[in-house]
Every structure is written in C-alpha cells, then in structure tokens.
Amino acid sequence: MKKLVCSLGLLVACLLFFAACDNSRDPAPAAGSTGSTTTPAAPAASPSAATPAAGAARPFEITFWTALTGKNAEALQELVDKYNSSQDKIRVQAVSQGNYWENGTKLQAALVSDTYPVMTMLEVSQVGEFGLRGALADLAPYFTAVERARFVDGLVKQGVMDGKFVAVPYNRSTPILFYNKDMLRAAGLDESGPKTWDELRSFSQKISDPPRNIYGFECPVDIWFIQAGIFQQNGSVFTSDMRRTAFQLEAGVKLVAFWQDMVKEGSMKAPLGQDYNSWDVAMDDLVTQKVAMIFSSTADLTGLIEATDGHFALAAAFLPAGEKRASPTGGAFLTVFDKSSDEQKAAAVDFIKFLTRADNDAQFSKATGYLPVVKDALDEPVLKELYARHPQYQVAYDQLQYTQDIPPIVGFREMSIIIQEELKAAMVDTSVTPRQALDNAARQVQNLIK
C-alpha cells in the first residue's frame, strides 16, 4: 500500500513537472514591436500589434521546414527570431531538415500522414515535382502586382507554373566563371576573362600544360552547364510542349563535341567524382592553381574568396557566350502547402513578405552569398558596400538578365542524372561520339516523360 502511494505521488509530481515545462514555452512578450502582420508594404501601419499589454492571446503558430545547415541556417534563424519578436500575432518555428533531398523525403511522408508543415523551402526541381502535382498553394492572390514586380525577373520565373504563382524565390544561385587573374596575366591573356566559347578554348590552350597537370578550364559535367551550353547554342533541352527531348539535337552535339575536343587536346580537365564531389574537385583545383578557369555556383563565392585571399587574384565573369548568352539558375524557393488552412496561408505569406523585405533580403544575401531576390535589396547599404569590396558579386547579379531555365517537368532530377551520366562517360572515354552519348540519354529520358 505504501509503495502504491509513493509511486502515485511520483507520477503526479512528474506530470506537474511536465505541465510546468509546457507553460514555460509561452513566448516572452515582444517589447517595442513595430508590427507588420498583414501589410508589410507599409510597415509602421499596424500599431495594434505593438500592444503586448492587451495580451493573453497566444500567437498563431506556423511551422517552416528549411533545408539549410551551418552558417546559412544561422543566418535564416536570425531573421526568424527578428520576425517573431517584431510582432506577437504570428510565431514561426523554423526546423532544419538537413539538405534539400532529406527535406523532400520527409515532406513526402508528411503529406501522406497529414503532418506536413505550413511552409517549406524547396529546391528548384522539387518546386516542379510538388507544384505540378498540385501540392503547392497559389500565392498570386496574396501579392499585388507591385509586390510581384519587385522580384528579380530571372529568379521568379520558375516559381510560376500552370498559371499559378506557387513559389517565391529565396536562396537562389547561378553559375559564373571564376578565374585566376594571375594565371591569365602570366599567359599574356586578357585579364577580363574569355567572352566567348572560342576565347575560352584559345585561352585554355595557352594556359594548359598537361605533363605538369596544369589545365586552362575545368567544369563539372552537371545539368546546369549542360543546359547552359545548349541554350547558348540556341538549342533547348525539351520541345516547347515538354513532350519530347530536344537536347540530343544540333546544339547538344555542338556542346559535347566542344568539351570532348578540349579534353582530347588537353586544354580542359573533366573533373572526376560523382555529383557534388566533382564540384569540390573543380574548386580545389582552382584554389591550388592547377586550373585557371572553372564554372561554379555563386553560392561558392564567399568560400572561394576566403580560400584564395592572399594567394592570387580571384575574378569572376559571365559564362562565355556561344551563339548567345544564357545562364541557368538554381537554389531554392519558399512554398506554402495547398492543404494548409487559409489562416495558415495568410500567416505564411506574411512571413515570406517579411523575409523578402529589401533590408532582410540584403542581410540574408550578405550572410550566405545567395543572390538577392528583390531588386530594391541592391539599394541597401550592406550590399552596396559588399559589392564595392567584392565586384564578383555584382557580376553574378548582372548576369541574371540572361537567365534561361528548363521549364518544370515531373521527374526532372532522374532525367538530369541520366543526361549527366551519359555525357560524363563520353568525357572519360572520348571514343564515344557526342551523338551516341546524347542519343543514349535521350532514349532513356523520353521513356520517363509522362
């Protein structure tokens, strides 16, 4: 009997303890909030939010799944905290789910079991996967024409599909040409970098010295550079109705032949390793001065500036032009699930508008190296100062006028892996003709088009 009383007492004590813990999760009242719950376009307009004294009302909670880690996740969390303390109506809880693919895996399961977050970050190809299947909310009703016009054109395009505005650009990136100015100067070449494919090749020929393991140019055989090359030759990856492959046509052949010829003559190094491993190889080779020019993402800019500082002059330029200029974009968008309630959608949009406010976007862009997504962010002093100090950032931003991307299509990631694999094999074994490699890929990709 005594034992029973003891254990019951212990149980009650435990319950009380947990109840107390739960209470302590109530947010601290926001002091001196400026409030911007519904109309961020006119920040100081809603003083009602700044009256915590009225307040026993609990804030409305929304969950936000992110796919950032480390320094970038911290930069985002800083803004989340800033938002939460700026008003007391909505409280955003950001949860990092690892990388884009881990996040996608969990989202898939969450959608089935109805435990999905209100909003999430989605990588470009995922926006297509989720958006085309109707899982994402149309945000068009929440944005005025003026608000939508603020977004950088080249970055917002992919967020629109089937006439719906399903994704707001956020942590976006684009590839640029990084080069070692010192190596170009030593070879007596134009220090502003190659402007065209022909210049890229002639520059590389001058710099390369295969016996010493020095190469002019290196670039991962990635869908980014494959699509860029095809667009630059006036080709396209799919037909305009997205029903047939088109990358195996003339423009694709030109691209693969160009790369293969450079590999054969020893002026281009095709980086080894699969997937992102090959990006690291290319960057390593640039930093250790084994290669003079590489294509890589603007997201690597901050890291490359740090790694090369004091060793050599790192410069950036537009991707060299073929028949015309074209550059792809990548990175991620902010999206809201269509299954969320109207109240949740409105709250999420409010938070998205906060994140894409010029000052906040500029702050995030500076901290992470991702591109600013709204035009007015460029007027912010933080970015002005950064761009003056490191003009490479300006290059990336200016290149956005030439962006051209593959329209969303279901199964894009699987398709891009097939294309990359076939073309990569043609770089390792140059006896495979460009046409063979492209036709092999086209046949498999065509089977995947639904």
């Binding site: 996608g104 895996t105 299947r133 390793g273 699969q274 892996i417």
Partner: protein, 299 residues
C-alpha cells in the same frame, strides 16, 4: 490462473513482440501493400494496379542491371572474403608479436566507420593523384597494362572497373571481421584432435581439410549468412562514392530503393524493389540452410 500459467511466456514476450510487430512486420506488410498500387504521395493519387509495377520494373533493363550488380557484388564479396579470411585465420592462429600485430592491422578497418573508409579509398583510387596509380606507376605495372591497351586505370570512374573497385573496398572493410570470427572458431577446436592426427603422421594440409574446416563449419556457415545479407544491403559506399554511377554500373538494390522512393518520388516502384529484395534475400538464406545445414558440424 491456468490461462496465465500456460501463457505466461507469451505475456513476458509481449513488449518485445509488440516492437517487432510495429517496427518490422507491419512495415514489411505495408511495403507489399504499396507495391500493388500506383501511389503518388505528393498529389495523394492512389490507384490499384496489381502486379503492374512489377511487370514494368522487371521489363526495365536499368532495374535488371541493378539486380545483376547486387548479385555479382554479393557473390564476389562472399567468395573472396570468406576464402581469404580462412587462410588468414589459419596463418594467424599462432601467438607471436608479428601475428598479433598483423591481427590488429587486419581487424582495424572493421572498426572504422564506412564513410571514413570510403573517403580514404576515393583518394587511394583517384586516377590522377591517388596512391594506387602512383604505386602501380612506380612498380611499372602501368607499362604492363599498356600492353593490353589500358592507358590509365580509372577505377571508380569507368563503368568497366567501378564495380570491381567497390568489391576491393568491400573486401578490405569486411575481411578483418571474418578473420576474427574464424580465428575464434579455430581456437576453440580442442588441441587433442590435432595431436591425435599428428600421431597418425597426417600432413598439415590434411589436418586443415579434415579437421579445421569441418570443425569450423558452424563459423563458416554463420559468416556465409551474415555476409550474404550484408552485401545485399550495401548502401553507404554507393551513396557516398558513386550514387550508382558511372552509368548505373555500381547501383545496387538498397541504394536504388532509396533513390527511387525518396529522390525521384516513385514510392510504388521503390516498394516493389523492397519486396523483391526481401524475396531475394529470403531465397538466398533459405537455400543456404537447405543446401548446407546438414553439412555443418555442431560439436
């Protein structure tokens, strides 16, 4: 009370059984369920297609290649690691400083995490700056290869050698564990048997075949089952090194299941793959028991 007495064991097992039911039996059954549907988890569309996905996948040469890769990898791994481990264990079954050091060296890879092993080997096998090609060049092996028209060993980068390279890495990683198990088995064989054989002037080779191997058969059988299962389940090395490439040449079942279900969002196909993998492993284990269990000696 009688009920309680006769079913007490069941009652005590209940917590463990519940765990197995919820976390193992239910998911397996549910995989079977999903594999008969065409289920798009993102849009929520779910239609019954019977064996439709099975037919589709078994007619897909890429998927067949994945099964072949997995089976080739499994057979090579088991054959090489068990055979090598047997000879190493026979050699190590003595106590001296050299043997103890060798034993430690052989066992070490087993302790190191797969990811570290894989990263190490990616460097070792790098065609340009890797240790392996450097050593081969210094030893003049590359000139030998040139006679066969091979300019440079591409190891993990070429579709013809990538799976072989995976086997090399896998063998290096598992050899130590297998050796240790066999060594322990050997040390538990009573010395008198060898003494008796020595009195009969049996050669050491004969002792090995007539005494060591039969008395080791429980350990060998155990290794066979464990190695077959674990080779079928290879995932980390594929995911870190190759993602199945180049050209699908190193894609294996578990990685394919992961990629298809979670990266390509084709959860039904992925479930079909899981079901087939379960059947293949089940079949392999069953035939192992059927063919070999009467050949295994238990003392």
């Amino acid at each position: 009370m009688r009920f309680f007495r006769s079913h007490a064991a069941l009652l005590f097992l209940l917590p463990a059984l519940a765990g197995i039911l919820i976390f193992i039996i239910y998911p397996i059954a549910y995989s079977f369920h999903i594999s008969f549907f065409d289920w798009d988890m993102i849009s929520g569309k779910k239609t019954f297609v019977g064996f439709g996905r099975y037919e589709h996948l078994l007619g897909d040469p890429k998927f067949i290649q994945v099964i072949v890769n997995t089976v080739v990898y499994m057979f090579s791994m088991v054959a090489v690691t068990v055979a090598l481990a047997l000879f190493l264990a026979a050699w190590l079954n003595k106590s001296s400083l050299v043997h103890n050091l060798a034993q430690t060296a052989i066992f070490t890879p087993h302790i190191v995490s797969t990811i570290s092993v894989v990263l190490l080997w990616m460097w070792v096998m790098n065609p340009d700056i890797g240790l392996l090609n450097y050593v081969m060049e210094k030893m003049g092996v590359d000139r030998l290869l040139a006679l066969f028209g091979i300019k440079k060993m591409m190891w993990l980068e070429s579709r013809t050698t990538a799976l072989f390279s995976f086997i090399v890495i896998g063998v290096w990683k598992t050899l130590g564990y297998n050796t240790l198990v066999l060594l322990a088995g050997m040390q538990s064989i009573p010395g008198q048997i060898y003494e008796g054989a020595a009195l009969d002037k049996a050669s050491s080779l004969r002792k090995f075949y007539k005494i060591t191997v039969p008395l080791l058969s429980p350990s060998l059988f155990f290794l066979l089952i464990v190695n077959v299962t674990s080779s079928f389940q290879t995932f980390e090395s594929v995911n870190v090194i190759s993602k199945g490439g180049p050209l699908n040449s190193t894609n294996m079942m578990v990685h394919w299941i992961y990629q298809t279900g979670f990266e390509f969002y084709r959860i039904s196909d992925s479930s079909v793959g899981s079901v087939l993998l379960l059947l293949i492993i089940g079949l392999a284990t069953y035939s192992n028991f059927r063919l070999l269990s009467n050949k295994v000696h238990y003392q």
